[in-house]
């Protein structure tokens, strides 16, 4: 046991899902947690300091798992961490295993596997109040004596048992109490010895018996790799021979462990745990007859999702407007101070203040959505929703839990992508993250409004205009499903996980825990994605602002001096500067790529400029067309300026730039593209830059293809009908 004073004692927190492990972790570490990812995998790593009874520990929250079989990335991280095989991570000094007091035996299965790795342990018998209500009586002292490790009765949500846990952990660290070992039959020991000899012959490193048993029992054990098994050599003959030892003794190799451990745990707990004679019909069962009913269940689900959607689509609106107003006000306050230095003024006002504003603008939606997600998860309803919806999503590589992220993305992909965290299966999570940004978010609405208002409604009437708006919202979903299927089938190569979802008993959530989760997600977004979003905004700002030769202003002012209208001259100067900016040059250079979609250089510049946020295309077009950067999608000036614009050269010279097919192509492009730096940043933080760039590339390709098809077919239709 390490008694080194310079290093904090490390305690790992393990447990099944739905045991209140995260609540306990939050209680113990408070606001001083560090959240990150384990290297190379998208498994969340949380750790934090914990002081108790004068002792200082570092607590590491391992992913919630049912076993250490390492068949999922979560289990594998947990196993590697506990066995001390994770790069840069030392083996923990002791383990706290959180056990649901209502399901002691099943929860102790994991504890018994952990004990097999030779780690001192404390059992946190959590949610003891719920067990009391169900009539289950547990004697912690007797249980502790039977198991051989301290057992602490706890109600983590109420803070009950926290001090006793600290005391027990300190004891476990000092005295190293180990849980009672499973009396393995002789055949298991013989198979383990055979394995050890075989590994030694291949030059693999020596392993503890507990790790050797993992190799023996698990169909494809990760431990083998960690032991340094030579890459070219096939372990199957050795494993087969070792498992034959079990089979010969009458044990099926793949079920032996579960049978032996459960039998052992049954014996150990028999005296200390007793169940009521007659099982009561729980409130959960009564609720479930309604909430998962084929008619009422679906009705309640639709209603709940409607509320969630409304909350982020509408209720967040006033808060977002308030943030916008404050940001604009701050810009106006700062601007006069920096007036002597126009470039610095523009950098601070449009780049920095605008960029920070572009980050915090997402906070209302994130906070509101995570309030509901925490509520749905903590009450236990999320699992029911996933049960109802799984069939709709399962066939294309998503699962029932994809529903909330996809729906949220209709308001905004930022909270939507963050909501994919609720999906345990990494493959379904990644597919959901890649498909969610295709949902038509509210930032696309200004583009649709401008195009429909200027070109569809005047010629085709309000009815078709409404239909068109609806169609734009359907197109993303219609594309997302085949995209998910394709990504899942051809791009992802990890093994699909079985979708086993525990339906936990319904519980009353605690506001404190819900607010904690909201704050945690918001803070993470600000710190991890916010910095990237601000940086992107500043880069685009620079490309729009520079170069800035003084003679542009002089020339435009001289040309228009007869107008005697200062604001018109200012607008013309802005347009002239934008026209010669680096971004406009890039737009002109890229225009041939977008020519098959009917885009001229101005639309192309609008597309590029809108990368920090899609709706920026409106103010960019406003600037280019000299109606001012504050033009919005309802601006009549902007609409009429668009309809009065003609190609000046090229094959379409003399024809209007904006026609119905062009307007449709612009809408389809924006419906399908990932022209949103904030989403790319969040995807990168959730799934890695590789997948964020993949998402950007495939959506841009789809958007371009969709726009070209729309324009070409629309033009053909126009020719045919005239």
């Amino acid at each position: 046991m390490s008694k080194d004073k310079t290093r904090r004692v490390r305690i790992a927190l393990v447990g099944n899902p739905n045991t209140g492990k995260t609540t306990l972790f939050n209680r113990l570490t408070g606001a001083r947690q560090k959240i990150g990812n384990y290297p190379g995998v998208t498994v969340e790593k949380k750790s934090g300091p914990w002081e108790s009874g004068g002792r200082a520990f570092t607590l590491v929250d391992l992913p919630g798992t049912y076993s250490l079989a390492a068949s999922s990335p979560d289990e594998r991280v947990a196993l590697d961490f506990l066995a001390g095989h994770l790069d840069g991570e030392e083996k923990p000094d002791a383990v706290v295993c959180v056990v649901d007091a209502s399901n002691v035996v099943r929860n102790l299965f994991l504890a018994s596997q952990v004990a097999d790795l030779g780690l001192p342990m404390v059992i946190a018998l959590n949610m003891a109040d719920a067990a009391d209500r169900a009539g289950i009586t547990i004697d912690p002292t007797l249980l502790s004596r039977c198991l051989g490790v301290p057992v602490v009765r706890m109600v983590a949500t109420k803070g009950e048992g926290i001090d006793a846990l600290g005391h027990a952990v300190a004891q476990a660290v000092d005295h190293g109490a180990l849980m009672a070992q499973v009396p393995w039959p002789e055949a298991v020991d013989r198979a383990v010895k055979y394995l050890a000899a075989g590994l030694e012959k291949e030059g693999a490193s020596l392993l503890a018996p507990g790790e050797l048993r993992r190799i023996l029992f698990d169909p494809r054990s990760a431990v083998l790799e960690r032991a340094g098994w030579p890459a070219g050599s096939d372990p199957a003959p050795l494993l087969g021979a070792a498992r034959d030892v079990l089979s010969a003794a009458g044990w099926h190799p793949l079920s032996a462990e579960a049978l032996l451990r459960y039998e052992h745990l049954g014996h150990l707990t028999a005296a200390a745990v007793s169940f009521p004679e007659k099982r009561r019909r729980s409130p959960t069962e009564r609720l479930d007859t309604v909430l998962t009913h084929r008619v009422w269940g679906l009705a309640v689900f639709v209603l709940m999702m409607f509320v969630v959607f409304q909350s982020i689509y509408r209720w967040a609106g006033p808060f977002m407007e308030a943030i916008e107003a404050v940001v604009a006000h701050v810009g106006e306050l700062v601007a006069p101070w920096l007036a002597p230095w126009p470039a610095l003024q523009s950098l601070v006002v449009d780049g920095v203040v605008g960029g920070v504003g572009g980050v915090i603008i997402f906070l209302p939606q994130i906070l509101i959505l995570f309030f509901f997600i925490a509520l749905l998860e903590d009450t236990g309803y999320m699992a029911r929703g996933a049960f109802l919806m799984d069939k709709m999503f399962g066939w294309c590589g998503l699962n029932g839990k994809s529903f909330v992220p996809m729906l949220s993305s209709y308001a905004c992909a930022i909270p939507g992508v963050l909501a994919a965290r609720t999906i345990e299966d990494p493959r379904a999570r990644l597919t959901t993250i890649l498909a969610s940004p295709l949902m038509s978010c509210s930032a696309r609405l200004p583009v649709y409004t401008l195009m429909i208002g200027a070109f569809i409604e005047p010629s085709f009437g309000a009815g078709l205009a409404g239909g068109m708006l609806f169609a734009m919202h359907v197109v993303g979903l219609a594309v997302a499903i085949p995209v998910a299927w394709t990504v899942n089938k051809f791009v992802l190569h990890t093994r699909p996980q079985p979708f086993l979802l525990e339906m936990p008993p319904y519980r009353l959530p605690r506001l404190r825990d819900i607010f904690w989760r909201m704050w945690e997600r918001a803070r993470e977004f600000l710190v991890r994605a916010g910095t990237v979003i601000v940086a992107m905004t500043i880069v685009i700002w620079a490309l729009v602002y520079f170069p800035r030769p003084a003679d542009v202003r002089e020339r435009v002012t001289a040309d228009l001096s007869v107008l005697n209208d200062n604001s018109a001259i200012d607008r013309a100067v802005d347009a002239a500067y934008l026209e010669q900016s680096y971004l406009a040059r890039a737009g002109r250079a890229l225009q041939p790529v977008f020519d098959p979609a009917g885009f001229d250089w101005k639309i192309t510049v609008g597309v590029l400029a809108s990368f920090p946020a899609r709706e920026v295309i409106i103010s960019t077009l406003g600037t280019i067309y000299g109606v001012g950067h504050d033009a919005d999608e309802d601006s009549d000036d902007l609409r009429s300026a668009l309809t009065r614009d003609f190609w000046t050269h090229g094959p379409r010279a003399g024809h209007p730039v904006f026609t119905v097919p062009v307007a449709l192509a612009v809408m389809v492009f924006f419906a399908l593209c990932l022209q949103c730096g904030a989403t790319v940043a969040v995807m990168a933080k959730e799934a890695g830059w590789r997948w964020a760039l993949f998402g950007f590339a495939y959506m841009t390709a789809l958007a371009w293809l969709g726009a070209v098809l729309t324009f070409q077919l629309g033009t053909l239709w126009l020719e045919w009908s005239s």
Binding site: N103, F109, S255, L259, F387, R495, P498, L500, M503
Partner: protein
């Protein structure tokens, strides 16, 4: 029909059965074993989702949502 051995996926809401010995190398079965769905233990199908899949099963006080494709890996002896 009572006494018949079939995959768990074939069960309807309300059916009960005993898990049969044998342990196929199927990721879902391995996980169910860890959760306590042992050979010889009793399992019940509580209900089937409105769209026909997944199913909700119960064993040892635990309720789980399970896809039919995964439930196919579990052989059960139907009880009356």
């Amino acid at each position: 029909m009572s006494g018949e051995i079939c995959p768990l996926a074939a069960f309807r809401a309300g059916d009960r059965g005993l898990v049969q010995p044998g342990a196929p190398e199927h990721p879902a079965f391995q996980r169910l074993l860890a959760m306590g769905l042992l050979p010889g233990s009793e399992v019940a199908v509580i209900q089937v989702a409105p769209l026909g899949d997944p199913i909700e099963i119960e064993f040892g006080g635990l309720r789980l949502s399970l896809r039919k494709s995964d439930a196919a890996a579990v052989q059960v002896l139907r009880l009356g």
